[in-house]
C-alpha cells in the first residue's frame, strides 16, 4: 500500500460534509429534503464536536438567511438543499451576491419541475448557472461527479467564495449525493487554509466595531444602492469581478486527440458517458469526452480549442434535462470568439436512471451524423 491516507467508503453527501468541515466550514444551516439529507445529518454530528454550529432552520428561506448572517460575519458557512429548496433560497442568494458574501450552497438536484421526484436530474442547470434570483447575480458553479470530488470541491468552493467574496454553488444530483465510493480525506492542492479564509474576510466582515480597536468606524454589509449612480458603480464592480472569475474555468478532456465526436457532459451523466465511450472506443470509434468542472464560468476556451484543433469535429451534448447546457456549448462555439461546429443534443429525461449502455446508441448515431431521438 502507498503512503496515501486510508480510503473510507462514504456517500457523496457525507463527503460534502467531511470536505466542508475539513475546509474550515464552521456553520451549517439547512432544512431536510431528499436526496441530500445525509449532509445535514453529518453536519449535526460533526460541527458541534469542533465548536461549530448547526441549525435546522424553519425553512430554506430561513436557512439561506442565516447563511447570509454567518457569511457577513466572515465565518466559513454553508447550506445544502435540492430542487424546490434551492428555489426558496434564491432571494438570499441574490442578496448575498449583491452584498458580496462568500456563501457556499450545495444543490443535490432532484427531478422537476415542481415537486418532481427524488431521482437524479440536471434540470437545475439554468437556475444554478444563469441565476434563479433577481438582478445580475452570478455564482461560481462546481459540478462534482464522484464522492471524492464532493470532498475535494468543498475546499475549492470555500477558497473561491472567499477569494472572490461571492457565493459558490456545488451542483450535484441524486446519484452524486447517494453514491458510496472510496474517499481519501486529505486536502486537495487548491485548498486554502482556514486562517487564509479569515484573512480574506477581515477587511469587510461585521463583528462589532470594537474588535477593530478603539474609535473604529462602523461597517455596513448591504446590497441596496439608492443614491444616483451608486447602483451602477456596484454593478460595474460586480461585472469586473465576474470577468476575473473567468480565470477559474476548469474542465477535463479525455480521449479527445483523435476524436471525430466529442461528447460534452457533466456530473453523474459524464460518468455514464465515460463508460459508454470506453466501450465504443474498444470497438474502434473515435469519440472523446469533454467534461466541464465549472459550469459557471463555463469552459468556453477549452471547447473552442477542441473545435479549432480538428475542423469538422462534431460535438454531442448529453444532459439529463430538456437541453440547458447545450445553449452554453453553442454560445461558446458560435459566439464572438467561436468559429462554429456541429452541435448535437441528447437529453435524458429526469426521473430515469442513466446507464452507459443506454448512451452508446445516441453516441453511435451522432458519430454517423444521424438524427438522435431523446
Amino acid at each position: 500500500m502507498s503512503d496515501a491516507p486510508e480510503r473510507i467508503l462514504i456517500k457523496g453527501n457525507e463527503a460534502v460534509a467531511f470536505g466542508a468541515v475539513d475546509a474550515g466550514c464552521r456553520c451549517y444551516f439547512g432544512y431536510p429534503i431528499t436526496p441530500q439529507n445525509e449532509i445535514p445529518e453529518a453536519m449535526s454530528r460533526l460541527l458541534p464536536e469542533i465548536g461549530g454550529c448547526y441549525v435546522q432552520a424553519e425553512s430554506e428561506v430561513g436557512a439561506a438567511s442565516m447563511l447570509l448572517g454567518a457569511c457577513a460575519s466572515g465565518v466559513p458557512s454553508m447550506t445544502s438543499s435540492s430542487g424546490c429548496g434551492i428555489s426558496l433560497m434564491q432571494e438570499a442568494l441574490s442578496y448575498m451576491t449583491g452584498s458580496m458574501l462568500p456563501a457556499v450552497l450545495v444543490n443535490m438536484a432532484r427531478g422537476g419541475p415542481g415537486l418532481g421526484d427524488i431521482g437524479p436530474s440536471q434540470g437545475d442547470y439554468f437556475q444554478a448557472v444563469k441565476g434563479g434570483g433577481h438582478g445580475d447575480h452570478r455564482n461560481i458553479v462546481l459540478a462534482p461527479a464522484t464522492a471524492q470530488e464532493c470532498y475535494d470541491f468543498m475546499f475549492r468552493a470555500f477558497a473561491l467564495a472567499f477569494t472572490y467574496a461571492n457565493p459558490v454553488m456545488v451542483l450535484g444530483d441524486a446519484v452524486v449525493g447517494q453514491i458510496k465510493e472510496p474517499v481519501r480525506r486529505t486536502p486537495p492542492p487548491d485548498a486554502l487554509a482556514p486562517e487564509r479564509l479569515a484573512e480574506l474576510a477581515a477587511p469587510w466582515r461585521v463583528e462589532g466595531r470594537g474588535r477593530r480597536g478603539p474609535g473604529a468606524a462602523p461597517r455596513l454589509v448591504k446590497s441596496v444602492y439608492l443614491a444616483e449612480g451608486t447602483l451602477a458603480a456596484r454593478n460595474r464592480q460586480l461585472r469586473d469581478k465576474y470577468e476575473a472569475m473567468r480565470a477559474e474555468a476548469r474542465w477535463i478532456a479525455q480521449d479527445t486527440d483523435d476524436a471525430d465526436l466529442v461528447v460534452v457532459a457533466y456530473g453523474s451523466i459524464a460518468r455514464a458517458v465515460r463508460s459508454a465511450i470506453r466501450a465504443l472506443r474498444a470497438q474502434g470509434a473515435a469519440v472523446g469526452l469533454f467534461r466541464p468542472i465549472t459550469l459557471y464560468p463555463f469552459p468556453d476556451e477549452g471547447l473552442r480549442a477542441l473545435a479549432a484543433a480538428r475542423p469538422g469535429r462534431r460535438f454531442l451534448v448529453v444532459e439529463q434535462n430538456l437541453g440547458q447546457m447545450v445553449e452554453d456549448v453553442r454560445l461558446a462555439l458560435f459566439g464572438p470568439a467561436g468559429r462554429g461546429a456541429e452541435v448535437l443534443f441528447h437529453g435524458l429525461m429526469p426521473g430515469l436512471l442513466a446507464d452507459a449502455q443506454t448512451l452508446e446508441e445516441p453516441v453511435r448515431l451522432a458519430l454517423a451524423g444521424k438524427e438522435i431521438r431523446s
Partner: protein, 186 residues
C-alpha cells in the same frame, strides 16, 4: 484493465431483506481489496413494486457509470426482483436466486443460475435475517470476484458496533452460501 477485473451486480429484494447492507459490505470489501468501487442505492420510481435494489461496481480503474442496464450478475431475493432483473441480465451473466421464496418455474433455464434457499439456510444458522449474507456468499462463490475471507473481514467495518457479536454468525452465513455455490458449480 483486463476484462475480468470489472464486475457489477444488482442486488434486489423486499425492503427489509438487507439488500443495502450486503451491497455496502461488498463495496467495503472491494475497497479494502484495493479495488475501485461504487455502491448506489436506488430510489424513486425504482422502489415501486415492492423491491429495493442497489448496484455495486468493482473495477481496477475509477468507476465510470455506477448504474448498469445489463448487469453481469444479480442477486434476487424475491419474485418481483426476478421478474424485473432476469430479463436484463447480461449474456453469460450469473444470477443468485432465492429458492426459499421464488418458484423454480420462474427461473429462465438458459440463464446461469445459483438457485439457493437462502432463508432456510440462514434460519438453520441462527436467524432468517442473515439470508442476505448467504446470498452474497453464494455470489462470491459463483463469481470469484473477491476472496471470501476479505468479505468476511469487512463485516467488522460494516456491521454497527452494537451488533459486533453477530459478526461470526454472519461470516458463517457468508461461508455457507459460498460453499453451496462452489459445490453447485464444481
Amino acid at each position: 484493465m483486463t476484462a475480468s477485473a470489472y464486475q457489477d451486480v444488482i442486488i434486489a429484494g423486499f425492503g427489509g431483506q438487507g439488500v443495502m447492507l450486503v451491497g455496502n459490505l461488498l463495496a467495503q470489501a472491494g475497497m479494502e481489496y484495493g479495488r475501485e468501487v461504487s455502491f448506489l442505492p436506488v430510489y424513486g420510481a425504482e422502489m415501486r413494486g415492492g423491491t429495493a435494489n442497489c448496484t455495486v461496481v468493482i473495477d481496477e480503474e475509477p468507476v465510470g457509470s455506477p448504474l448498469v442496464r445489463t448487469p453481469l450478475s444479480t442477486i434476487v431475493l424475491n419474485e418481483p426482483s426476478l421478474a424485473r432483473f432476469q430479463p436484463r441480465l447480461a449474456e453469460g451473466g450469473v444470477q443468485i436466486v432465492n429458492a426459499s421464496l421464488i418458484d423454480r418455474a420462474l427461473v429462465d433455464e438458459r440463464r446461469r443460475t445459483v438457485y439457493i434457499p437462502v432463508n432456510d439456510m440462514a434460519l438453520k444458522i441462527g436467524s432468517v435475517k442473515m439470508a442476505n449474507m448467504v446470498a452474497l456468499g453464494a455470489w462470491i462463490g459463483a463469481t470469484g470476484t473477491l476472496p471470501l475471507a476479505c468479505v468476511q473481514d469487512a463485516l467488522n467495518r460494516v456491521v454497527d458496533g452494537r451488533y459486533a457479536k453477530l459478526v461470526p454468525a454472519n461470516a458463517e452465513a457468508l461461508a455457507a452460501g459460498y460453499d453451496f455455490a462452489k459445490k453447485q458449480t464444481a
